[in-house]
């Protein structure tokens, strides 16, 4: 994203260094649009640092009396800390399991010859079409059947379905040159060594990208964790912060402080790994097309 984009380069070529009022106006317009687009997040941040009575009295650009009261109140008087732990357990487990299971399966389909391989591949491809939200009733029946409602494992299990991740791994493993595999096999390496010593390390980039996007997705998941966690102490942050609303009525500084805390890990993950997020999104979209 650092190189000159084609549009702007063509632009420079076309206008040959003349002062281009149109281009300047467009840039100003872009900045204004970006600020408007970002405004709700800015406004949430500002509000979360106001004292509660100020939220309803003032629309000042910055808090008049900045305070951490909203945050402190949330941490002390709600289950936020427990929800954070739950979210971390669920998201980290989902990420690790999805990446591991998909990498292994993608490797098997890509590199091994076994009966049912083509059928498995087609099954994974076809499963894109299945709308997971339609399965909530039966997921609940299954999870209740094994006594896992209201447990971390019960929240995690239905979230492990990730055909896209397996397909991306398969495609990346397909493009590893055959010589690597042949040389390692001659040296006496088995399939597990091949996968964990050669194929995965050669594709760390894609593993990072898939892990980050899976983590963000798991942290943000709403529908299933909302159904599976019935006790407030089993909720994830994403589900929990709305239950606070029922309890508090309208206390927006506190609510927004909770929202800021809930959105923080995923925003940080994105800002730290922007290029990987972009890569994962472009790849997964390419498969869906």
């Amino acid at each position: 994203m650092t190189e000159t984009s084609p549009a702007s380069r063509a632009h420079i070529a076309g206008r040959r260094g003349h002062f281009d009022a149109g281009a300047v106006l467009l840039t100003i317009l872009t900045v204004i649009c970006a600020c408007l687009w970002f405004f709700p997040i800015y406004w949430a941040l500002v509000t979360s640092f106001r004292p509660e009575d100020e939220t309803v009295k003032s629309m000042s650009v910055l808090p008049l009396q900045p305070t951490l009261d909203g945050y402190l109140y949330m941490i002390r008087n709600s289950n936020l800390a427990i929800w954070y732990v739950n979210s971390t357990i669920v998201s980290v487990s989902v990420t690790a399991l999805v990446v591991l299971l998909s990498a292994c399966c993608g490797y098997a389909i890509s590199q091994l010859r076994f009966p049912g391989r083509t059928a498995l591949w087609w099954m994974i491809l076809a499963s894109f079409m299945i709308p997971v939200p339609a399965l909530i009733v039966n997921h609940f029946v299954i999870i209740a059947g094994v006594g896992l409602v209201n447990t971390h494992l019960g929240i995690i299990l239905p979230m492990l379905i990730a055909p896209v991740t397996a397909i991306i791994y398969k495609q990346f493993f397909d493009s590893v040159p055959k010589e690597f595999r042949e040389a390692a096999v001659i040296d006496g390496a088995n399939e597990f060594q091949l996968l964990f010593r050669i194929f995965l390390p050669m594709n760390w980039g894609i593993t990072t990208a898939l892990a980050i996007i899976t983590f963000i997705g798991a942290w943000n998941a709403f529908l299933w964790p909302f159904l599976a966690a019935q006790d407030e102490r089993m909720m994830t942050v994403t589900v929990g912060i709305t239950s606070v609303q029922d309890a508090f009525g309208v206390y927006y500084a506190k609510l927004l402080a909770g929202a800021v805390l809930a959105g923080f890990p995923v925003t940080a993950a994105y800002l730290l790994f922007q290029r990987r997020v972009t890569q994962a999104i472009t790849l997964s979209a390419g498969i869906k097309g």
């Binding site: 994203m1 984009s5 084609p6 549009a7 702007s8 380069r9 063509a10 632009h11 070529a13 076309g14 149109g22 872009t30 900045v31 687009w37 970002f38 709700p40 997040i41 949430a44 299971l101 998909s102 292994c104 399966c105 098997a108 389909i109 091994l112 076994f114 391989r117 099954m123 709308p131 997971v132 939200p133 339609a134 399965l135 009733v137 039966n138 997921h139 299954i142 209740a144 299990l157 239905p158 492990l160 379905i161 088995n190 159904l227 942050v237 994403t238 609303q245 309208v250 927006y252 609510l255 927004l256 809930a262 959105g263 995923v266 925003t267 994105y270 999104i281 979209a285 869906k288 097309g289």
Partner: protein, 292 residues
Amino acid sequence: MLKSRKSEVLAAIVLAGPFVALYAWMFIYPTIQMVHLSFQNAPLIGEGTWAGLKNYTKLLSDRTFKTAVWNTAYFVLLTVVPGTAVALAIALMVSRLNGWFQSIILAMFFVPYVLPVTVVYILWDWMVNVQFGVLQPVIALFTGKPVNVWRTIPWFMPGVAIVTIWWTNGFSILLFLAGIRNIPKEIYEAALLDGASRTQVFWRVTWPLLWPVTVLCLTIQLILQLKIFDQVYLFSMGGRTQVTMVMVQYIFEQGFQRNNGGYAATIAVALFVIVVAVSVLQLQAARLRRGT
């Protein structure tokens, strides 16, 4: 190597086995069970009795189901094409910029995409709060008085659609940006040498070359928005949910709030058929496009 080696098959079982087992348990089995349950008169948990086609005949005359289908379609209409158009406009604006300036502007447009839906809900609920919302003066410019957006039926779906576009657009923006970057620079240079104006360049060069990306964005959005639940559920909490009902929400209501597991499964089958039909149509269309 035509014949599978024994060790290879064994390795495949160990490597693909857990994935396949999980897949069978959490994907194939519930899908079959869903169809099975849809022919039963059953609570959410517990034994049911065979109901034949009763649930399906009930579905056809169910007014709330019709409302849910209509609202889902309305929501798709409000989000898919407008959202893609907005994403294209943003991508075109962002693609003109360079370096760190571009990164910052892009991040400002993209960040909403990574937020949890409940955060988005709390943010926008505050933005349009009928008494203290910062957007109420803007709304009042058009209506002359504050509007309780989430409790005013004609405002509800468009409101949720705008929030959804704001929230999910980052995805399409990234796809469009990648598409714009893939357009060869020479084409632009040639067009400008021929004296094409900025609008001509867009309509004659950028737009046709971005068409495949546009179709991709539209189909991904279409299938995604058919499955709408979270936002509609959250914004309609405490309101007249029967009027603003969407399909997944109706599955939830029947299954989890009214304990009609069988009927909920029937609604799920209907959603399932719609989504699969749309996916198949889209795949066929893609095949036709590639064929010609």
